[in-house]
């Protein structure tokens, strides 16, 4: 059974002129233990899609769908308060820049125990024990001592590990990771991807992994959806999609990325010709 099931998601952003249809009918299905990659360029609607699922978009933006279920919970029927209970508990998000997603004036321990208290209402000691366990699990050395540090005292890689630990704290069914390794160095990126993959396996998490980087998605996702202009234009198992891209846009996207072994003058990078107005929404 699917952990997350979304049918015909539409997101419309009001502007001074014509409303902008940032997402125009997207379906998403992720099962336990599965990683779905969503790739696409700026403005394709990939981040807006994830924000809509988490219900993190500002109220003036309209979100509609035929169906949006987390397990057997109908997310469309949830009030704001109920959604606040679900976020961070049953589904959690990992963002690109942990420096902006973490609170700079609270210690790591305080942030983690507040999240725990919000959803689990346990004692502070239990919360801190859970935090130490997870910090240890995500590979942070000396986790107990790290509870007292502030985000700026950690390197980018460690901060991203803290974010992952916080996302996992309440043992969610679904994790949405939006460009979680884009701000990291390549060696750190590889470590974080391996960590996410192994956590996902051991906990049977459903994961949506959003990235502009096809190489990264190829490494972590089993199935991929390619988005363009607010729609899913292509999709399938990762090997098939990359090996035999069917849709012209996927082919163009793949051919525009330099691959190992390619040299300028001998190999040509493909260009993408815009066939349709891509929305200018930030993603």
């Amino acid at each position: 059974m699917s952990v997350l099931s979304v049918r015909n998601l539409k997101v419309t952003i009001p502007t001074h002129g014509e409303p902008l249809e940032a997402v125009r009918g997207v379906d998403i299905e992720v099962g336990a233990g599965e990683t779905l990659g969503i790739v696409g360029e700026s403005g394709c609607g990939k981040s807006v899609t994830s924000m809509a699922i988490m219900r993190l978009l500002p109220g003036r933006i309209s979100v509609a769908a035929d169906e949006m279920r987390l397990g057997d919970t109908d997310l469309l029927a949830m009030s704001e308060r109920q959604m606040a209970d679900i976020r961070g508990d049953r589904m959690a998000m990992i963002f690109q820049e942990p420096m902006t997603a973490l609170n700079p004036v609270l210690t790591i321990g305080r942030q983690m125990s507040e999240t725990w208290a919000r959803h689990r209402r346990g004692s502070k000691r239990e919360a801190l024990e859970a935090a130490v366990d997870l910090l240890d699990r995500v590979g942070i050395p000396h986790p107990r001592e790290r509870l007292g540090v502030y985000p700026h005292q950690l390197s980018g890689g460690l901060r991203q590990r803290v974010m992952i630990a916080m996302a996992l704290l309440c043992d969610p069914q679904l994790i949405i990771a939006d460009e979680p390794t884009t701000a990291l160095d390549v060696t750190v990126q590889a470590q974080i991807l391996d960590l996410l993959a192994s956590l996902q396996q051991e906990r049977g998490l459903a994961m949506i992994f959003i990235s502009h980087d096809i190489g990264v998605v190829a490494r972590i996702a089993g199935r991929v959806q390619v988005m363009y202009g607010g729609r899913t234009v292509d999709g399938g198992p990762v090997g098939e999609l990359l090996g035999h891209p069917k849709h012209p846009y996927t082919r163009a996207l793949l051919s525009s990325v330099p691959r190992r072994g390619m040299r300028w003058g001998r190999d040509t990078l493909g260009a993408i010709r815009w066939t349709e107005d891509a929305p200018e929404a930030s993603s």
């Binding site: 700026s42 980018g156 096809i214 090997g239 525009s256 691959r259 260009a271």
Partner: protein, 270 residues
């Protein structure tokens, strides 16, 4: 450049060190951070020399020293055989120009495209307004940007267009060297392809030498003639690009190459 013979080496660093004093604050003991720890490097005329390494390896300090934005704590920098310290600031700036990573923050939002591109000439002085405009127009044409862009503001442009404006600004003073610091990292992949092609075409057209800083090893392999690998303020390996990617010598280079995630080549099963 009177009697000077144009040599193969356009710029050279000899045993350059740059040290920052950090910490200290109220209680801490200040200590020295060796951002560059004895770097010697030659930039050959007309080449694309890529500089790779992770955050904190000293890449940006090295590029700031090449651009003359910072002086080395010790060691020497030469431009066409002359010590950089002996070259007047404005003359130096006209010969070595930067293209930065983020076209959203590196362009003044309150200036028009024309004003942004001609700024290096205005600062250098001695070029009449009509000649400046002629050169701006010529560059827009080369960069395949419509003339109506002249009076546009950066906020009205896409990322790719902005990066072209940044490239035009770098080229207007007809520099010998362009230091590109992650010039395509903030761009979409399709736009990246376009900017890379453009940079390579311009190299031939203007006889440019590039120092190209990037974390993307596939991009580096695609365009670089030589690659310099930095770790903790030192160059651990400098080699021809094809040799380096085929047989990396240093352990750290091997580790970097192993971590790089690129699109697997098209194949039936992955």
């Amino acid at each position: 450049m009177s009697e000077k013979v144009m040599s193969d080496i356009v710029m050279e660093l000899r045993d350059v060190r740059r040290t920052y004093r950090i910490g200290g604050g109220m209680f801490g003991k200040p200590r020295d951070l060796h951002a560059l720890d004895g770097v010697s490097l030659q930039l050959r005329r007309g080449e694309v020399l890529a500089l790779v390494g992770e955050s904190g390896s000293g890449k940006s300090t090295l590029s700031r020293i090449l651009l003359g934005l910072e002086a080395p704590s010790s060691g020497e920098v030469f431009l066409d055989g002359a010590p950089v310290a002996s070259i007047r600031r404005r003359a130096f700036a006209a010969r070595v120009q930067p293209v930065f990573q983020d076209p959203y923050s590196s362009l003044n939002p309150r200036k028009t495209v024309r004003q942004i591109i001609e700024a290096p000439l205005v600062i250098a002085g001695g070029v009449a307004a009509s000649e400046r405009l002629r050169r701006v127009r010529e560059l827009l044409d080369i960069l395949r940007m419509p003339e109506r862009m002249l009076e546009a503001y950066p906020s009205q442009m896409s990322g790719g267009q902005r990066q072209r404006v940044a490239i035009a600004r770098a080229l207007i003073s007809r520099p010998e060297i362009v230091v590109c610091d992650e010039p395509t990292s903030a761009l979409d992949v399709s736009v990246q392809a376009e900017v890379l092609n453009l940079l390579m075409e311009l190299r031939a057209e203007f006889g440019l030498t590039y120092l190209f800083i990037s974390h993307d090893l596939a991009v580096v392999e695609y365009i670089a003639d030589r690659v310099a690998v930095m770790q903790s303020g030192r160059l651990v390996e400098v080699a021809d690009a094809e040799a380096l990617f085929a047989a990396p010598q240093h352990d750290y280079t091997r580790r970097l190459l192993a971590s790089a995630l690129t699109v697997p080549a098209a194949s039936p099963d992955t």
